[in-house]
Amino acid sequence: MTDLAIQTQGLAKSYGPLGAVDGLNLHVPRGSIYGFLGRNGAGKTTTIRMFAGLARRTGGSIQVFGLDPQYDHIAILERTGFVIDKMLIPSMTGNDLVRFNRAFFPKWSDVLAKKYAEALEIPMKQKFSKLSSGNKTKLCLLLALAQGADLLVLDEPTAGLDPVVTDQLLRLIVDDFANDGRTAFLSSHHLSEVERVADWVGIIDHGKLLLEAQLDDIRIGYRRIRAIGRELPTQSPEILKLHRSEGMTEYVLRANADAFTARLRNEGATVLDVSPMNLSEIFLELVGKESHVPVEVLA
């Protein structure tokens, strides 16, 4: 049995000439909360649809619990709670949807459904079509959580929600789901939310995975170094990105900042500063934004 809940190798999906996902190599460890980050149109939703067997890959491979969604999607769906479009059957009430969903999942828990309905204050007697956007999302999450899944895959779970509901949902995912050793995979472009709950992150842009790392490693290892000097190194495995302007060189390093700083000094450079980076800064570096606009604005 693999230690990965989800693994993709060279995963590709194209719609005619348009490549939505291009050679994606993801590794989602079991028991992790994996934040899948990217701008709108980066390929996040397409990737998730391929996990669920809703879209067919045009190249590469996917394994969810060691199974291929294209051929074993029933077995995957029995163990995975997908929240993708946040659209349920409009004519059904929350209670109807619980009743409807119950029959599909052997590990379904009415106790959990009732608990989440009360905790999240979802009006279960109201038709889905009449619910507010926040309550719709909460109900989708309730159904996914109560099915007793080993893996939760959420596509933009907090999009369009107010901060209170967002907080409720994130706490639910962390406290009630992931603390049991189960895996949560959530796509988002709200970096602060992901930074708050995730322990792994993957950053995708234009269908390509730009970064996959543990969040702790990012916090510990990623540094921005600004230095002045002549003929400073431009090639090194730890260099993630490099900018040069007016005699100053700015490095974004993925690791070994201390050793790299020492090397710069040995080569006669003046190191102006070495600063840690947060997820937003790394995201901006990777997706190629030159100016440091707050990422939440981009979202």
Binding site: R49, L54, R56, L77, E78, S91, M92, D96, F100, A103
Partner: protein
Amino acid sequence: MYLWKCWRDVRGFFFVGIAYLVILLVLAIRHHSVDANNISLLWVLWGFTIVHAALLCVLAWGMGSLGVGGEIGKGVGAYLLTRPRQRKLFLWQEWLISMALLSTLLILAVCIFLAEIRLHYFGFGYQTTAMPASDVFHLKYIMLAGICGLLLVALVYSMTYFFTMITRSSSRGLIFAIGTITAYLFMKMEINEYAPHLSSHIPDLVLVPFIGHASATTLHEGLFVSILLRLTVILLFPLAAQFVLERAEV
């Protein structure tokens, strides 16, 4: 549980059909509408069944447009198709439950007709001397008339279901299905008018099981082959819909 959802979706149509049958029953008891002294009651039975089948086609159009294709169009596809069931099961459960309900409505309509005949000719303790053809109560003929009606309803329902699937829209599916039936009828009419020698090669929308009049009525030649061919065509629609659904990207 998916059957429960299917039932919820189409029950409105079913109740409309039941309400219509109740009205039909009341009318049948109050007014003896069947006057079959001059023609075979078999023809009356067939005509009655086809008229009611045609009325049921209105419900069949509605029911057919509520399939899983319509759900995908409404954005429910990602939810529905991430339930751990094979896609074809969703489709066939929907198809079967709607067909069962439409069949029930047609069978009830035929039963009302037969009850009316029985009341009219054999009721109230006397037997009329004008009973033209008691073979109307022969199970074989009743079934044949019912099958002809059901084939029409099933064709309309299956076609609508298929178009709803490929267009992923209830309204577009409905329009395509109505358009196809209308176009076929128009084409048949034009062929009858301008190329009558070809007319016999183009099957009627409604299967006619009998030939002849009054007491000389007999079964149409090749009737069972026709029934089988029409059944095949009808089943091709859900099969094609299954083919589309199993390959559909949502």
